[in-house]
Symmetry: C2
Subunit: 338 residues, 2 copies
């Protein structure tokens, strides 16, 4: 079996990253990671007339560029795995319509980047495809409209809120001999500790990150310091502090090798309170900063734990708390200058 | 490679069906297939106080019973694959919260049953899990509220409309030696021929079924008469006639071995116009009628082509046509009384 412990897949054939790309909006392009993004768009509508269409175009452009970066032609793509925050993941499905490739739609909210990598690595490792395009993205304005309030209302944002990243990332996997590998992955369970505040996603999602991280370390019999970088999806400032505290209750110390995409992506003067969120947050940091540093050999063993809040506006209005999930993906570099 | 042609996965280790279950609502229990469903609920609210919660409870109960039918305990489940029609697939995610098992959420609209079987069979065949729970479901009242009009409006239904099935189905796959196998699968592309009428899903989805069916037959070098049964998801009466016509343009004749879940499920006096639809339509017919007949050896080679319409209300309001998809799954019986 290609599996250890209760929740962890092992990819013995080492599916490799043969191409990747990330594209972000103007605000993200002024943040802490501006030099790592492949492209920063000046136009947050991406040439479209609605934010939903903009989000779809953002994902489609990101995937197209990643396919090119992988030296593939669009008709050579054997499977596209994608999802997003929109109702019925229309951004991904409309991108798949334009790209005209075999398509499996996934939904894991902001954990989607990890989810697509898990399914993609499984399909490549199992020999079902010669390549798998794994992608996701989000848009601040479409997410606010769908999950909170239309921007036109000018609603005041509470101090625990996070800012949905306008951005997308795409990773192309293939059974190559060299390159960064996806070596294992831990599939999360749905965790819900009763948080109901849709403006405090970090607190809602931290327990899911905690449970998946503990499951991963137990399954693989590793300590946190095995990794040069443990990177959670988008817990933000508050959520990542909660995670550090929770890990201590189990005797695990998250030290300098721990970061959070949501906490990192914006600079302090960008008024995003707890930081970034959204599928595009983890996707752009992973495909921008992390993979670039891994290619240079500055990082060798990386654990990417993307977190997602699985509620809808209807479930919230019906008084439900926020069910969350986190999936872990282990990336292994083939250079070592750490 | 475990793959033939452009779009088809081959499961050489033959993941087997070790358990299955289907549960439907009262109207479906008065239809053509009443003796094949495992359970018919008298209460279309499934003991809940909203139709969204009812749908989640329906999926959760179906999965619980399938797990029991597979002789597994809930904590032995290694992955649950599920999706549904609700925004952010909350019915599946809330069911996953209660079931407390590793979870990968999928979205393929009414194609979801096939989508979960494809990913599940890949994970079992690739040796990443010892079992995979593949499930989906839908509810008439929650779907009408979300995609069309609230029931309280009493809106007149046009003659091309279909009736979303209140029902769910679950199939449990494992690397067994005996039992019905999932032997191959064809992953669909998004197909959109420009239909914009959300009350004519059959016409919108027929081209997707057509393209996937042709791709499957070409990839596997088979003719339609290889199968005892080719079963499309829920094209309904009009959509399945369109599919028969489209197949003829490519020289393929769909004969008596062709049926459609949407066309079959309700009886003529149930006033459902073009028939049934929704994730639960294909899921309940597959896990009810088809698997029961395969276990008896009345069917040996079955091709299940589930179709899905990937639009949202927002995409429809923004003037977009309906992008559709179809995924094909080949089931192989281990008894032969055909």
């Amino acid at each position: 079996m290609n599996r250890v412990g209760k929740q962890t897949f092992v990819f013995n054939n080492l599916p490799r990253i043969i191409g990747n790309y990330c594209l972000v909006g103007p605000k993200e392009g002024k943040g802490n990671f501006k030099e790592y993004f492949d492209k920063i768009s000046e136009d947050d509508l991406f040439g479209q007339n609605s934010y939903e269409k903009a989000e779809s175009r953002l994902i489609e452009q990101t995937i197209s560029n990643a396919i090119e970066n992988a030296n593939l032609k669009p008709d050579e793509v054997e499977v596209m795995l994608s999802g997003d925050l929109m109702n019925q993941i229309t951004s991904s499905s409309f991108a798949a319509r334009t790209l005209d490739v075999p398509y499996i739609g996934l939904f894991g909210a902001c954990s989607t980047m990890a989810e697509t990598l898990i399914v993609g690595a499984s399909l490549v490792d199992g020999g079902f495809v010669h390549n798998a395009v794994c992608a996701t993205g989000s848009h601040f304005s479409s997410a606010e409209k769908q999950f909170r309030y239309p921007l036109e209302l000018g609603t005041q944002r509470p101090p625990t809120s996070q800012w949905t990243v306008t951005g997308a990332g795409c990773t192309v996997l293939a059974p190559n001999k060299t390159g960064i590998a996806v070596s294992s992955a831990t599939v999360g369970k749905v965790v819900d500790w009763g948080v109901t505040d849709a403006n405090n996603m970090g607190a809602a999602m931290a327990p899911a990150a905690f449970e998946t991280l503990v499951a991963h370390l137990k399954d693989t019999n590793r300590e946190p310091d095995y990794y040069n970088l443990i990177l959670t999806g988008d817990l933000g400032k508050l959520g990542s502090e909660i995670l550090i505290d929770l890990m201590e209750t189990k005797g695990y110390k998250l030290g300098k090798n721990y970061s959070d995409c949501g906490q990192m992506i914006f600079s302090n003067n960008q008024k995003t309170f707890m930081g970034g969120s959204g599928c595009g947050c983890g996707a752009s940091i992973l495909n921008g900063y992390v993979l670039k540093r891994m290619k240079l050999g500055h990082l060798k063993n990386v654990l990417f734990v993307a977190t997602g809040a699985l509620m809808s506006t209807v479930s919230a209005q019906q008084g439900e708390s926020i069910p969350c999930i986190a999936h872990g993906v282990v990336l292994k570099g083939d250079k070592d200058n750490v």
